[in-house]
Symmetry: C3
Subunit: 309 residues, 3 copies
């Protein structure tokens, strides 16, 4: 293993990253952030081709990866099912093998089905990065969230983070729990019972019933997006009801001004978060987006060392 | 203000450009045109990310901006509503802020609604360039038209330019009137009354009723595209009737061979212009397209000096 | 003619390439293949803009050209009818002229109608490469197939190649017959009579009725894709029947293990080819894809010498 690379030559799940891996990524992300103004364009992925395979639509994550790869001088191409041979009945695996034969070495995959990135990694010698798979994982989101907290609080060990909203269906929550625990944070969930994961003993996370108590307890609230398809699924009585009991408003920050808020975006303003909060200093949504690019540059740079390149 | 930059760090309207600005842009465009064969690729936008936000479909303008930015070594990405979070209910402003957080410094915007570029510029510290907004403005089209005339006639001061066709709905006409007046041209409109703008006294432009008289008077005719949606709007009796009275044919060039013709494209051949004219030497449509790339390179290069880059 | 360029400054048909041209392309492709790991990125097309005009959908061919051009440092843009002015009624020719005016020098064209690349080449001073037109030609596929055989057998002169399946509608077959004959191969067809071309005397190719006899005779079988639209066209009794008589299975390789198989992809596994064969060593489908990138790099590099660039 080259000195500066990660434990695994891919990123499929937050569990692929140990404490040292995460710190290496943070260090490299900081390096890129500090030097991008002067260096402008890095050469870490020069001659490397990165394929963006987003089978599920996405603006911010896809763009973040695209810009990250380009700022490292990679060649980037986008591959979507609509413009692909998938309509000709070609299987996902055949498509992977075809693209791989063209010397594409890095695959960034988002798919509505859990497990697709793992399946693809088993069948390629390239590097697969999970950009969100079903309800399973979104490990780079967890990395950028943790990096944002790391820069804000200097250390994450002992930090109290409460995740609020639809935990059950959230790949963001799943990845964040793993990554934040690896870094020593204390975790809690605050959610309607119908949106809590089933096997809570496996998660080993505190449950806080009332939002006010959650805010009291937490240094950080991580507010999840309420997916549209959940809004009329019967799992919540109504959006209005959900918003009343689990939406964050100025009232919470008045009570606890030092509270820090993260949200993976895009935000449903007026549902999980009051629009007036969008520019409140401790609401770090834009900072998360900004950090996302540097985290992904760091990840790509460290993983590319496995290409013998 | 750096020595070589423009009066404003954006281009939202033709009114943002004074005489000196326009001449600076022309000079820089000429420089790029003279040196592209030998230099091949310029570094003016190296490390700068340019976002193309074309909410209204476009081939030539979008491609022209894309190639301009790439020939200056920018990273370019395209952002369209169909592939975006807009379908998830994210507002235009949230999207702008998200993209901006990823260190995208230049936004090139086309939108069916007038005023969108101004709105976006008010909410970003990046550079917004208007690539056409509703019936309002299309300032880079006016620049490339004026540059084409400047190169043909050496000077524009005193040049007689008659704009023909649907002035009322044309952002091209609006921008051209401003830019050409700034450069000292004398302007006229020749159009069915139903397609003339309402407040003609504000425009301070000659009105010429008959096309033959317009050709007699003008050094240059600028023929506008008749939009399909106008064709059966009741504003003209019929396409055939419009074409008979306002379409340019060989007859006009037989009468006045030195007449110069511009058209912003794409042309409805057989309606506003006879197809046989497409290769007539004084019909400068291809030259306009060619100049468009250099004008946009010049604009991007001059505006990018505001990035402290 | 510069020393190292090809007989024609375009590639519209396999007939444009003589023996020396093909060998020049192979030599250059080998050079790129041998050096890509160390050089990473070549400069042959720096400052050149390549337009991909794929009017017919495609994954592998389009991507192969895109990556080839980018690995030579070209600027690449994609042009498709759906996102174009074609919906505004602009003709193909006007579009070509517009794009050409923006100093786009290379056009890679796929179109459902035979003859479109020839038509475009007649109207541009740029370089047109045919990436598949109707039932006419797909010359780069033939080049990469021949290169694959050349590398496998060292020489193609005297090699026995049998093309199997729907010859009648196949541009791949047509181009391969020309290219392989130029290189001295002996050709045969094995196909249902309804899927054989009409004027067999013009083709001057052996006809083998039974697949077993074809396998006996051939050093190489080139299996064509059975197009979906053919499956219920009445030209074959049924897909099952076609597969029974013309599908390649392990049985054929058991009988003749040294047989080499090519397929242009994407494969209909279970119809023209048994899925178990996808990883059989003499089934060179992935190798073809890999070689496709280097062949297209070679072609672009050699043709670009005509740009006086």
């Amino acid at each position: 293993m080259p000195e500066e690379t990660l434990s695994h030559p891919y990123l499929l799940s937050s569990e692929d990253l140990n404490y040292d891996d995460i710190l290496k990524i943070f260090k490299k992300a900081k390096y890129f952030m500090d030097n991008i103004q002067s260096v402008k364009k890095f050469d870490d992925l020069k001659g490397v081709t990165v394929g963006l395979a987003f089978f599920e639509s996405s603006t911010r994550t896809k763009l973040s990866f695209e810009l990250s790869a380009k700022r490292l001088s990679a060649d980037v191409f986008s591959f979507q099912s609509s413009s692909s041979s998938l309509s000709k009945g070609e299987s996902l695996l055949d498509t992977l093998r075809t693209i791989e034969a063209m010397e594409v070495q890095v695959f960034i995959v988002r798919h509505q089905n859990s497990g697709v990135p793992v399946f693809l990694q088993k069948n390629t010698s390239g590097i697969v990065i999970n950009a969100g798979d079903g309800k399973h994982e979104h490990p780079t989101q967890a990395l950028l969230d943790a990096f944002t907290l790391h820069r804000r609080f200097k250390k994450i060990d002992g930090l109290k983070v409460c995740i609020i909203g639809d935990i059950l269906h959230s790949r963001v929550a799943r990845s964040n729990v793993n990554t934040l625990k690896t870094l020593g944070a204390e975790l809690a969930f605050c959610s309607p019972g119908t949106l809590l994961p089933r096997e809570l003993n496996v998660w080993n996370v505190n449950i806080i019933d009332e939002l006010d108590d959650a805010v009291d307890w937490a240094d950080v609230v991580m507010v999840l997006r309420l997916q549209r398809e959940r809004m009329d699924s019967g799992l919540i009585p109504s959006v209005k009801e959900f918003s009343k009991y689990y939406g964050i408003t100025f009232k919470h920050f008045t009570k606890k001004p030092e509270l820090v808020l993260l949200h993976p975006g895009p935000v449903n303003y007026g549902i999980e978060l009051d629009y007036l909060l969008s520019s409140y200093p401790n609401v770090l949504i834009q900072t998360q987006v900004k950090h996302g690019v540097f985290i992904r540059m760091a990840l790509l740079s460290l993983l590319a060392k496995n290409l013998g390149h």
